[in-house]
Symmetry: C3
Subunit: 265 residues, 3 copies
């Protein structure tokens, strides 16, 4: 098998310490030809759902890659390390739900193995930094062409840890959905898929009291007004033209947002 | 034509989401051999002038590149996407003034085209993320050797949107200038070019009441004192040795600063 | 000599300006084949000790490299620029203590030269941006295979500027140590090497009043409890399981921390 030319990295390590560079180093020492795309290292510490959401929305836009992700509050416990083979790349990281949404976005969990082969790890694995010592080295070996089966025993995909599905209710003319992410621009992304917008009217209320309009880009509403649209990841999102929807709505990931019809004025 | 080995990226996307990685992905899928230098992704959201200034000051120090820049509050409107050919590289981004200062720093706007060829874009272009779907793919095609003329029809350089020129007044023994940028170290860069320093005395007042001295590096003044110097981008700047000039002067980009002679004590 | 395939960069430049990109540009123009790993650019401005600590803990995990580091409050003064050859790579930067801990981590200061050869610098070296104009170009030349001796005259390693050694006292059943770093997760790393843990009991007090337990990973203590462990850089560190030790202990780099036995309850 030919391996992969690219590895992506997604962590909660931040960029103030040398942790990310050490992971780059582990990769460079094992697979120097492979190139690395940093997805983000600013997942809030231990926020597995946030890491899972960012990775799932980004991975499909990368070349076929080994996606190494580490948001790992259970490092050093008996939580498993796994690699998931999908039709469009491999995911490597802790078995805590971090990888599953991305695996589904890449076509599903075709093969899962547990990372147990000590020859794949750095010698002297630390108890607190598996990104450097376990996951980046494993990603590098897979990118360099090693078969997944060499990493360790197969895992039943049904046993892989999953995060709870976000709450989404689609009804007749209204929807209720968990907030998935809030981005740099303050746009509020819901878990609801963009195609449910077709069932909503043009004039909406957010959470019963904030007016919004359906549209497809920011300038479809006046400056300062709210827009409900399908975002670039294919989900329903709420923006303020030239403003920050997160401030207007005062919500955060996990909160419920309801979009209902607005009576004509 | 041979294309370019390098693409630079300048955006206001931040690094908390996967937006930058998605742009890297668009490039890697179209032009996998090309390497990417990230100029910055921390342009304040929608601050076109800040993006333009950073790019103009950095691009001349990069190898010949396709410079892809996206600070694009008008995404999804009818603002044009353009590519500007210069004697020392190509610039790709929205036609909102972001690219022009850099084009001039690279030798001028030799050729301009509008990005209209749909074959150059990702299929299913989103209305809100042209960095991933339009600009990064176009930059990748140009870097891979595609002629600018294939991107779309020529544009009269006179019609390219320009930011207002920063205000600079050079008089006999004093200058007044808009603040261009404030950097990480709190150094205050003026729009005035460094050569106007020759017309100023050694002992200066900033805005009529703060003492400063002309010099060429921070240690030319005592700790805590103000230095007026030509910075590494060739502009007049004000620093505090071991301190932050921006705090002492309480100015921000766009403010006017006046440098006048100080009477001998 | 064959040079190096990798350059690492460690600076206090931040990522809001184009300074880091300009250093990448200097490297790419001189040694386009060489690849760059960014260690961090978020060293607090002018904090030489922090830069030295991060570099020393990261460099051993990178492939053999030229490590270019710039935390340089003395830029433009007569402080020397140096290159240090070690058994496992070369370090390039200002002679202010920044490079020495890393040199020792890479096997010691085998050869030191002063960077004086003007042919190695960019033409028109600025007085305030030696990262772009002096250090990155020198690192690129060394990576491309130029002998250290071409950079300038040899320097007696005894004359290289050193930071004060951090205070570490190892006594019978207790230790006192300076705080070395605090990481993204709030873990407090001491200067004391991990092997001194063997001389401590399992139940400890931090600074006489905060209870902690020795262990090897976060989950060895209950959520919210303090753990004393050997961290992934081989030093004694203090963490809170699912919390931030730096908040509990209210310490910062340079402070002294004492670990003493706790009487059984």
């Amino acid at each position: 098998m030919g391996g992969y030319g690219w590895i992506s990295l997604t962590t909660d390590y931040g960029t103030f310490d040398g942790f990310v560079a050490a992971c780059h180093g582990s990769i460079a020492r094992i697979a120097p030809e492979v190139r690395v795309i940093d997805v983000t290292h600013h997942v809030p510490p231990a926020d597995v759902a946030r890491g899972a959401a960012v990775l799932a929305q980004t991975a499909p836009h990368l070349p076929a890659s080994v996606h190494c992700a580490v948001v790992d509050p259970g490092v050093g416990t008996d939580r498993r390390g796994i690699a998931i083979g999908t039709p469009d790349g491999v995911l490597v990281g802790p078995d805590n739900g971090l990888l599953v949404w991305a695996a589904e976005a890449l076509g599903g969990l075709a093969t899962v193995v547990e990372l147990t082969n000590p020859d794949w790890f750095l010698s002297g694995v630390s108890r607190t930094f598996h990104g450097r010592d376990v996951f980046a080295p494993a990603a590098a070996r897979i990118a360099a062409g090693a078969p997944l089966a060499d990493a360790g025993p197969p895992v039943d995909p049904e046993t892989v840890v999953r995060l709870p599905d976000p709450v989404v209710t689609v009804a007749d003319g209204w929807i209720e959905s968990e907030v998935m992410t809030v981005d740099r621009f303050g746009n509020v992304q819901l878990a609801a898929p963009g195609d449910v917008l077709a069932g909503l009217g043009a004039d909406l209320l957010v959470n019963g009291n904030v007016r919004a309009r359906r549209g497809s880009t920011f300038a479809d509403v006046d400056r300062g007004d709210l827009l409900v649209y399908e975002d670039s990841a294919g989900r329903v999102a709420i923006a303020v033209n030239n403003g920050r929807a997160v401030v207007v709505l005062s919500v955060r990931p996990g909160d419920l947002v309801r979009l209902t019809p607005r009576e004509p004025a």
